[in-house]
Amino acid sequence: MEEEKKRETKNKKEKRNFLKLFAIAGIFAGVPSFVSKFFALVSKNDNENGEEPEGKSGEKYRWGMVIDLDLCTGCGACVIACKIENNIPPTGYTERDRGTEIEWMSLIPAGEDKDYMIPIPCLHCDNPPCTKVCPVGATYINDEGLVVQIWDRCIGCRYCQVSCPYERKFFTWKKPEWPETYLQWLNPDVPTRPKGVVEKCTFCSHRIRKLKERARDEDREIEDKELVRLPACAEVCPTGAITFGNLADPESTVSQLAKSPRAFRLGEHLGTEPKVIYLAKEKRKFISKEV
């Protein structure tokens, strides 16, 4: 009998403890609302300080590119121009170098039988898979729609590289090296990247920045004709197949071209919403069955 009583009291105690735990849990339930209010306050302050509101439509610029495959001859000038403009080290052809080359802009085989080549930079998706997975926020999509990479913050986990459906992210497998005569040609506007980070096409954001600064100094708006051949790849294209510009401006050349009935984008079914638009009369020639 005594033992039973003891057990009963023990059970009661346990019940009481359980109730206490529930009470504590109740207190915790209140905490998140406080915290969210706190953060709401913080973000409100940000807006009051004069930052522009979020959202694609509210932005002044939304950079995009149109590549006309009917004009493209596959000469590869854009690939070389990009490498020189952005301080990308040249790569050899030995077995050891296989798969280590970095080409922000490259010519890749296209079409069902791979008998065509298409130039492909980073597509600067509006809904990029790579920025969703970066553990440290080293890659993100900025207010102007550029998918950018902070090389200094990147830890080299290569998660963005495996998540990119277009393979447009490049890891620096080794310390970049240039032949001595090349060193004097390095572009001072673009930093060189150390070994062990992921790098990518920036739509030549340093050129955009310079143009913006010049326009600000001269107290005028950026004109469309200044933008059309702005990136290095567009500048050198002998047939003018690559056009760059502001997609937020409906009057710009890229916006006009993007409305063309020849326009298509790569990997539409993935929902990544690329901002690089291709033009081709017969797009079957250039894309495999899915894309």
Binding site: D46, K114, C157, P165, E167, S288
Partner: protein
């Protein structure tokens, strides 16, 4: 009632309680142990040399290359991150199951299992670092900028910090009674060492009662953490829409089950070594324990075989073409060897374990063999999860790639394995590897007969300190989580509070430390007649 052979050995051992140091050869150097240390040191040396190569020349010394340009970006390191973290499944699960469902036969294995968890999590963390292009920046930037939105956040915080720390707390609290016992049997430096470990445990009835209470609740809280941790690993692959073969809701549960398989398998191997080869513990680690583990392994294996069948049917019959291509490359293409290895290993171990289950007998060799096989399967299955989608899963017309594992990668993995072995055998040399009460050396009082003897203000103060720590932990956890998630700010900005991920991790740690606070808070007690039994 006939007294069994095991019972006799147990009685003998009880008479020789003072021989606990001899029995576990604690502090005594044996030739086998020294050889094991030398072996693991050689492995570590290989690992260090390989890692130095990789740090000096960059990842070009590995077999990894740009996907789409002929290589894979994630290779052996990622395979072993998943494998190591997967093994860690066993320890805490076994302990928690023993605690929650009272599986008595597994109690001797709780400490080896928890130790396995802790060490494999450390190895997992180290292999994460080995995979990074810039290790130093990873160590600096993850605490500063880690984003909740990345599944990697789960790997870095939930798994490595939360899960590891929870395991440490659980492991430590259940070792205190033994530390106290060891302190009473030793003198000099060792005595101080064990005293510090025991941290106030003195065999009072309250100590036992509190421990049974806190470990029950810890077990309850650790189990969901465990499922979350292994699921986030699955999500690393499961959310990749751009990679045929990865985008699947089955990834997360599959990772949890596969973790259970490899972890339970590794525990059986360790139990076998402890039982037969090292300590002669036939009466402690019973055949029933092997049978229970074997049954668990059987259920997990058939579950995973079911998952694989579902996976293959989905990917082969009416799937999009690219999914089918990847599945075809895995089953009949360049990855046929690891794929069929996985299938054969899983099937053979299931059949053997099923035979053991229905026959009603226990075959230790069946358990051991199937444990080895499922661990092979665990590595090869992870390989065919990680690699083929990077070499064959392109939506654009990139040429197919291949992956050649380099000596550097193998060297680093060997080094990690060696480090794990070293940690394990060093621990076994300074602390009894089996809970002493289950080995019949220390007597654990029956819980029903215990009475609380604590009285006075400390009774309240203890509760207060416990609740305060827990509360603080939860608050830090929530604040750190929300700040790391950039709630209320633009998602690409830095966290509004500096070092927000660290705050989150501290919150997790503090929440679990509350259990330690609850147990070690000093108190006032009435005199106890039974406290000085030894």
């Amino acid at each position: 009632m006939a007294v069994g052979e095991g019972e006799k050995i147990r009685k003998d051992r009880e008479n020789k309680v003072s021989d606990v140091f001899d029995f576990f050869s604690i502090g005594k150097l044996k030739i086998g142990w020294i050889l094991a240390v030398i072996f693991s040191l050689i492995l570590i040396l290989i690992g260090v040399i390989s890692f130095a190569q990789q740090e000096k020349y960059g990842d070009i010394v590995t077999g990894l290359r740009t996907p789409g340009y002929g290589g894979v970006s994630w290779g052996l390191y990622v395979v072993f991150i998943i494998y190591f973290i997967g093994i860690s499944f066993a320890g805490i699960t076994i302990s928690a199951l023993t605690r929650i469902f009272g599986m008595k036969e597994l109690r001797p294995l709780t400490r080896p299992a928890e130790l396995l968890t802790i060490i494999s999590l450390i190895l997992g963390a180290m292999s994460v670092l080995a995979d990074q292009g810039r290790v130093l920046y990873a160590l600096l930037n993850l605490p500063r900028y880690a984003r909740v939105m990345s599944p990697m956040f789960g790997t870095f915080t939930m798994v490595i910090a939360g899960y590891l720390f929870a395991s440490l707390v659980y492991f430590y609290l259940s070792a205190r009674a033994d530390a106290w016992f060891m302190a009473s049997r030793s003198r000099g430096f060792l005595r101080i060492f064990y005293k510090i470990l025991a941290l106030g445990f003195s065999g009072k009835t309250d100590d036992y009662l509190r421990h049974s209470y806190s470990s029950f609740w810890l077990a309850i809280f650790i189990l969901p953490l465990l499922v979350t941790a292994h699921s986030t690993l699955g999500f690393i692959f499961g959310i990749q829409a751009g990679r045929p073969g990865w985008f699947s809701a089955l990834q997360a549960p599959g990772f949890v089950i596969m973790a259970g398989i490899s972890g339970t398998g590794m525990l059986v191997i360790i139990a076998y070594l402890l039982r037969r080869k090292i300590y002669k513990l036939e009466d402690v680690i019973t055949e029933k324990a092997f049978r229970t583990l074997g049954t668990m392994l059987m259920i997990l294996t058939i579950t995973y075989i079911y998952f694989m069948i579902v996976e293959e049917l989905t990917a082969n019959y009416a799937a999009p073409r690219k999914e089918r291509e990847v599945a075809h490359a895995i089953a009949f293409g360049p990855y046929a060897i690891p794929f069929w290895t996985t299938v054969v290993c899983l099937l053979v171990s299931f059949v053997m374990l099923f035979y053991q289950f229905v026959s009603g007998k226990t075959f230790i060799w069946i358990n051991l063999l199937s444990s080895l096989l499922v661990n092979v399967a665990a590595v090869s299955k992870r390989f065919i999860i990680v690699v083929p989608s990077q070499t064959h899963g392109f939506y654009l017309a990139y040429p197919e790639g291949s992956y050649h594992i380099s000596p550097v990668e193998i060297g680093i993995i060997l080094g990690l394995v060696g480090f794990g072995i070293l940690l394990y055998i060093i621990f076994a040399k300074i602390f009894p590897i089996i809970p002493l009460d289950t080995a019949g050396i220390r007597e654990e009082p029956e819980e029903e007969n215990l009475e609380r003897t604590e009285y006075g203000t400390t009774l309240l103060l203890r509760r207060f300190a416990f609740v305060l720590t827990l509360l603080l932990g939860f608050i830090l956890m929530i604040v750190g989580f929300l700040a790391s998630a950039r709630v209320g700010t633009k998602p690409y900005l830095d966290p509004p509070i500096p070092f927000a991920p660290v705050i989150f991790i501290l919150g997790i740690m503090l929440s679990f430390i509350s259990a330690v606070v609850y147990e070690v808070f000093p108190g006032k007690y009435r005199t106890q007649p039974s406290s000085e039994k030894f």
